[in-house]
């Protein structure tokens, strides 16, 4: 009984609360930037995949198939160790800044492939007649994509896009692979401290709750948004 209670010693957790909050803050900064950038990348890729120019289509499908089938850890390691450290492509001399941007870029590039595929399935739900009507009033390909097809495709895949974003938020924990100190890296650091030995389970619980505070409302929000924006046909 005593041993069981020992597992729930919240002392170390609150002793290091500041560090944990900082880890979460770092994670939030990463998730927010990657959320925006992955939507942009995914939208551009989806445009490529339906473009009338074969080279763009090949690039789109090549990118998606390679990135989607590469482990995220590898993508991030390639960004931090490969591009930043080895090739010296640094965003800034400040390590925390350059690794932050590499983590954003790696995570967005990776998530963008999933956003693209979600969007492409959305594009498939838009009846062919919509594109034909758009072309017949003289809109160019990019105009019909931007004004007619994508707005309807987005509305059709709001819910799956929510899942992609939730997965992305959880994937931020892999960013320590890009030498970026977010919550998972902070947790690992804490767990390595001898003084933290008894605080492991509370830390896990705390971090899990922290993620749920973020992801549950995200899920609800996207569910609500999906209902609100649904296109009646």
């Amino acid at each position: 009984m005593e041993q069981l209670l020992d597992l729930f010693d919240f002392g170390p957790f609150f002793d290091n609360f500041d560090a944990i909050l900082q880890g979460f803050w770092a994670m939030l900064r990463l998730a927010a930037a990657a959320g925006v950038l992955s939507l942009v990348i995914g939208t551009v890729l989806a445009g490529f995949r339906v473009a009338p120019i074969p080279v763009l289509r090949w690039f789109g499908s090549g990118y998606v198939n390679i990135v989607r089938n590469t482990p995220l850890t590898l993508v991030l390691l390639m960004c931090s160790l490969g591009l930043n450290d080895t090739l010296g492509l640094a965003f800034s001399g400040e390590p925390s800044t350059t690794y932050y941007w590499w983590a954003v870029l790696g995570l967005s590039g990776y998530t963008g492939a999933f956003v693209c595929e979600a969007l492409r399935s959305g594009i498939n739900t838009v009846p062919l007649g919509q594109a034909e009507a758009a072309r017949s009033i003289g809109l160019t390909f990019t105009q019909s994509l931007r004004l007619i097809i994508l707005p309807q495709a987005f509305r059709a895949v709001v819910a799956p896009l929510g899942s992609v974003l939730i997965a992305m938020i959880k994937n931020t924990t892999v960013a320590s692979a890009a030498s970026y100190g977010e919550i998972a890296a902070v947790s690992k650091g804490l767990l390595d401290l001898p003084s933290f030995a008894s605080g492991a389970v509370p830390l896990f619980i705390g971090v899990a709750i922290g993620f749920m505070i973020l992801t549950l409302p995200t899920g609800f929000f996207f569910g609500w948004l999906a209902k609100r924006t649904a296109v009646a046909r």
């Binding site: 009338p52 009846p127 007649g129 919509q130 034909e132 009507a133 758009a134 072309r135 017949s136 009033i137 003289g138 809109l139 160019t140 105009q143 004004l147 007619i148 707005p151 309807q152 509305r155 296109v231 009646a232 046909r233």
Partner: protein, 273 residues
């Protein structure tokens, strides 16, 4: 472009088929759409065989024929929604350009009304009508809205302007689709079975709008089996079968006195139901 102003009530008093009186650009009579020796295949299927068709300014041509005869394909090839294999298609003297900006410009001069309406479902009725003028013609928003409201008034749906397409009946949607095409001030309008997806009680409201257009001198190519419309509005009826133009005549002659067996057979079928 400026002399084909469309206003409500512009139809008053114009004589049927008298192109020069209407508000549309019917000046300088002569061919507006010329289809010459056009062939098209879908795989092994030869859907258009040596098609020749000339449509003069202000003329209404009705295309009729059995299912699968290539009517839609012909209609769609005129604004290059379907590319053709050989032959030439001239619109206002210019051959159809390759896919790209020039083709987009040409398409904006060729209105198209589809069987399934194809209104943009995420946009309001008003936005459906103003989109083309604003994005393609680079018209100012206020002017586009003013013109759109006048057009919606003309087709009798001004009071529904802020609704979404799914909230309208089929007949209303099709009238909006016509207004959307008209907003581009097209030189010619293509209609591909505009009433065949409609409930019977809605067919007339759409045909009335089309008849008014015809009277106002709009150049129109209409795929339809509505003989009443053909008789009232068309200068010429073109009968297609198996990808060929089998017969071409005035509506009166064609319906009362078809020459080919295919046409006789077809007419007997559509007349009996």
């Amino acid at each position: 472009m400026t002399d084909n102003e469309v206003g409500s009530g512009a139809a008053e008093g114009a004589a049927p088929q008298d192109a020069s009186d209407g508000p549309f650009d019917a000046t300088g009579a002569g061919p507006l759409v010329v289809v010459e020796n056009v062939n098209k295949h879908f795989g092994d299927l030869h859907v258009l065989r040596d098609i020749d068709l000339t449509v003069n300014r202000g003329e209404v041509v009705v295309v009729i024929g059995p299912s699968g005869s290539g009517k839609s394909t012909l209609c769609r090839s005129i604004n290059r929604l379907e590319p053709i294999d050989s032959g030439t298609i001239l619109v206002d003297g210019k051959p159809l350009p390759q896919e790209g900006k020039d083709l987009a410009r040409l398409r904006s001069d060729v209105g198209m009304v589809f069987q399934s309406f194809n209104l943009f479902s995420h946009k309001t009725i008003l936005e459906n009508v103003t989109l083309g003028p604003v994005k393609v013609r680079k018209q100012g928003k206020a002017e586009a809205v003013k013109n759109a409201m006048a057009l919606l008034e003309r087709v009798g749906i001004a009071d529904q302007a802020s609704k979404y397409p799914a909230q309208l009946s089929g007949g209303q949607q099709q009238r909006v689709a016509i207004a959307r095409s008209l907003a581009m001030k097209p030189k010619v309008m293509l209609f591909d079975e505009p009433t065949s997806a409609l409930d019977p009680e809605m067919i007339n409201e759409v045909l009335d709008v089309m008849t008014d257009l015809a009277r106002d001198g709009m150049t129109m190519i209409v795929v339809t089996h509505e003989m009443g419309f053909a008789r009232k509005a068309a200068k010429k009826v073109v009968f297609m079968a198996d990808g060929q133009i089998v017969e071409s005549n005035t509506p009166e002659e064609f319906f009362t006195n078809p020459r080919s067996d295919r046409a006789k057979d077809f007419l007997s079928k559509i007349l009996t139901h």
